[in-house]
């Protein structure tokens, strides 16, 4: 019954979202403030309906109601509760439900936080949100209904892929979607700006926090997915340039560019058309990403849609949102007042170059992901693109971006006098080269390793130098303390994020370059030596989980005489599905990760295949990303964002012209 109610609420939600889209348009045509004001209430109602619908679906999962087709296909009564809950979005239909839930949440948040945005602008934004909501809700109802019943009901569900039962994998879609869908707000604001042909600096102040918020969530979401791959897949790798990963990476790249260009737009009242374009593109990537990940639209490097009716709907949505918005852009963007000019050597100039690089990077990832389709369309050949392409194209693009990032915060706005910072740059450059050479001298390394370490140190020193220089301008201790306190949070945020990038680069470089990999076969009592650490295979015992049998090995790891730890890698066997899986065990220290995978058992010789990875500084990858996300949060907490939403109380009831 609850399931039918949920279905009904979803249908109601569709009609409400259509109202949310249409009424403001009528309001503008008829100059009716009342019709405009309805958009706020529509967004409240839409949120309530979608939440109810989502909860009813979640309940079907929790109660293992296998008369619902989706639950029967994707869940299992033996799953732990948490995975029943997260299983809701572990499939195409459910993930779209999560998508509109997040969308409704954002519209709600905008309605509440944006009380002081002029009604006209706000209702256009909400109207666009309504259009997006109705398109998605319609897509769910007409092509991917999650509430379909099954007759006769199944006794047991079928969804039990053990590799997919992992907390990192389970919670990363909500974060990712908070990122993807957050970009819908910047998208809608851009549409509003294009329709009204005005994008003043207060407009960009409204947009920026949403871009920052989405970027932060995207960063966290991508990191969680990557963390899952690292812990669970048993290869010791953390990024595979898989189309699914690329799908989340493209919006991230576009959002990063958007974030930077919106700073210029805010500070210097220029580059507005470009910022709007980035917002449109970022959301388009989000749409593409949503479809690629769950819908079977691009299974791996595969074809565009596995279900033709879905494919056509998706295509129509892409045409409507991306095509429509770009057409509007082409028509109205030239009418936006063009901003101030600036010299190429200035903070703006540096950010423009950053933007070009990030856009190019997003384009290369897009190309690599869709290349197979193009080749197929142009010639008869069918190909797929692997990691070598991405590595050879992406890394060279990022090098200049990082070089630039090291010193561009030191440049002043408008026109920087290069002479002033010339000496500092040379100083930081020489220090970085010296430190890198020293490190490489101790531990040998290839040119790529040198480059990676150099870039990391360069960025770190540049960021730190810039920060201290600003702080130490104070003469006395008190003055310095005051500067530290009053230093804007958004500037702290930037420093943190840039340092995060530097830590990330160091982690990625070191863990790749100095990784030790040992593959061997061991019996009880055997010893493996990795990087001065002694691993002793002490024992093996059988263990039983809720639905698996496992061989659990005990490895005793001695770093030195007093520092001893144990690792318990498992080899699991799931009788229900006759599947074997390896559960790697990871010893994660600040400066290295030791990763043991237990493989197949050789019954004759009582040997076990074992793989050991030693990756130095691997944790720096996660720490770096955490710094980046923390930088985003810091920057969001800057009071100027609150101010921009609180001002304009006077203009609140701006008359409709």
């Amino acid at each position: 019954m609850l399931v039918e109610l949920g279905h009904f609420c979803l249908a109601l939600a569709l009609s409400v979202s259509i109202l949310q889209f249409v009424l403001p348009i009528i309001g503008i045509k008829l100059k009716s403030t009342r019709a405009l004001a309805t958009s706020t209430y529509s967004s409240y109602l839409f949120f309530c309906l979608v939440s109810f619908s989502f909860i009813s679906l979640m309940w079907a999962y929790i109660s293992s109601d296998f008369s619902v087709a989706l639950v029967a296909q994707n869940s299992h009564s033996l799953k732990p509760l948490i995975y029943k809950v997260t299983g809701v979005w572990g499939n195409h239909e459910g993930s779209l439900m999560l998508w509109i839930l997040v969308l409704s949440l954002y519209s709600l948040a905008l309605s509440i936080i944006g009380k002081n945005i002029p009604l006209k602008i706000k209702s256009i934004v909400l109207s666009v949100q309504g259009l997006i909501a109705s398109a998605f809700t319609g897509f769910i109802l007409f092509t991917s209904n999650p509430f379909l019943r099954l007759l006769p009901p199944k006794l047991e569900g079928e969804g039990f892929n053990p590799i997919l039962q992992d907390i990192g994998l389970a919670i990363h879609p909500p974060f990712l979607y908070l990122g993807y869908v957050g970009l819908s707000i910047t998208f809608s604001f851009s549409i509003a700006a294009l329709i009204l042909k005005q994008a003043d600096s207060i407009w960009i102040k409204w947009v920026r926090p949403w871009a920052m918020l989405s970027w932060t969530f995207l960063t966290i979401g991508i990191a969680l997915g990557s963390w899952w791959a690292y812990r669970e897949l048993g290869w010791g790798g953390w990024w595979f340039w898989d189309p699914v990963e690329n799908a989340s990476f493209m919006p991230w790249l576009a959002a990063t560019a958007l974030l930077h260009s919106s700073i210029v737009a805010e500070k210097r009242n220029t580059l507005k058309a470009w910022t709007i374009l980035l917002a449109l593109i970022a959301f388009s990537f989000s749409l593409l990403g949503t479809f690629i990940v769950r819908s079977g639209v691009l299974v791996s490097v595969h074809a565009f849609a596995s279900d033709p009716s879905r494919g056509i709907y998706i295509l129509l949505m892409l045409i409507l949102f991306t095509g429509g918005s770009l057409a509007l852009f082409a028509k109205n963007a030239p009418k936006l007042k063009s901003g101030n000019m600036f010299s190429p050597i200035s903070r703006e100039g540096a950010i423009v170059i950053n933007n070009i690089i990030f856009s190019a990077a997003a384009a290369t990832v897009l190309l690599g992901t869709l290349y197979p389709i193009f080749i197929d369309a142009l010639t008869a050949n069918k190909v797929s693109v692997g990691p070598p392409y991405f590595e050879s194209v992406f890394i060279p693009l990022m090098v200049p971006a990082i070089l630039l990032c090291g010193f561009s915060p030191m440049l002043t706005w408008k026109r920087a006098v290069f002479d002033n910072i010339y000496e500092r740059i040379i100083f930081i450059f020489i220090v970085s080269i010296l430190i890198t050479s020293f490190l490489i001298y101790i531990r040998n390394g290839s040119a790529m390793t040198f480059l990676g370490i150099f870039l990391s140190i360069w960025l770190f020193l540049g960021t730190i130098y810039d920060f201290f220089e600003r702080i130490l301008r104070g003469k006395s201790f008190n003055e310095v303390a005051k500067r530290i306190v009053s230093y804007p949070r958004s500037a702290y945020g930037m420093s943190f994020a840039h340092i995060g990038v530097s830590i990330f680069i160091l982690g990625a470089t070191m863990s790749t370059a100095y990784k030790t990999e040992i593959e061997t076969s061991v019996q009880i009592g055997d010893k493996i030596i990795v990087e001065n650490k002694e691993l002793i295979f002490e024992s093996i015992k059988q263990n039983q989980g809720p639905n698996w049998l496992a061989d659990v090995a005990t490895f005793r790891i001695s770093h030195n005489e007093s520092d001893i730890s144990f690792l318990y890698p498992e080899r699991r066997f799931y009788p229900a599905s006759q599947i074997n899986t390896s559960e790697p065990a990871i010893l994660s220290r600040l400066f290295y990760d030791l990763y043991i995978v237990l493989g197949e058992k050789d019954i004759k010789n009582k040997n076990f295949a074992v793989r050991v990875y030693y990756s130095p500084l691997l944790n720096f990858i996660w720490i770096g990303i955490a710094f980046m996300a923390f930088g985003g949060i810091l920057s969001l907490s800057d009071k100027k964002h609150r101010v921009s939403y609180k001002t304009l109380r006077k203009n609140r009831n701006l008359s409709i012209k």
């Binding site: 898989d242 079977g296 791996s300 595969h302 849609a305 596995s306 095509g323 082409a330 197929d376 390896s582």
Partner: protein, 181 residues
């Protein structure tokens, strides 16, 4: 800035969409093999060997008297990893012969994966350049072909084989092929 510059994004997008639609309408259900390969004999290809493993040869395929699977995989491919356990299941529980085509891979890593997770393949052919896969019309990995007892390609599965697929498509097709003469 010139006014028509603002049309560049739109035009780029339209071109993209044209490609997409062409793909969508020409090849309506892309998870099926293009008609060219369907019901054709498995092409006479020559593979390289993955050290320590049986080499996949055409004779193997044509002399075998039961339906079999040909799985295209790589160690760098995440869906393959998810599919792997299911291939083991097909081999061990259902005694189905699976030939592996290792696609554009680092051979050492391929070997490690098989060592660690088990080897579901009767024999393996290496396709380092990806050329052989092109002859088969492979879009990417993983991809699986079902061959009948005469070595003709009868079905193509795109993407990882999940438990669901085994039950709903792979096994029914195999059973049907086995019954056919």
């Amino acid at each position: 800035m010139k006014k028509y510059y603002y049309y560049i994004p739109l035009i780029t997008f339209i071109l993209l969409i044209l490609f997409f639609s062409r793909q969508l309408f020409l090849n309506k259900d892309p998870s099926h093999l293009p008609s060219v390969m369907l019901d054709e004999s498995f092409p006479k290809l020559e593979f390289n060997q993955l050290e320590k493993y049986n080499l996949l040869t055409i004779e193997d395929i044509f002399s075998y008297d039961k339906p079999s699977l040909v799985n295209v995989w790589a160690s760098w491919c995440v869906p393959c990893k998810i599919e792997h356990a299911n291939l083991m299941l097909l081999k061990n529980k259902h005694s189905i012969r699976i030939y592996g085509i290792n696609y554009k891979d680092n051979l050492q890593e391929a070997d490690e994966i098989l060592n660690l997770d088990g080897n579901p393949f009767y024999s393996i052919g290496v396709d380092s350049s990806g050329r052989i896969a092109i002859n088969l019309g492979v879009y990417g990995v993983p991809e699986t072909f079902i061959l009948d007892r005469n070595g003709k390609i009868r079905y193509r599965h795109v993407g990882p084989i999940l438990e669901y697929d085994i039950r709903e498509t792979i096994l029914p097709i195999l059973t049907k092929l086995e019954q056919d003469d």
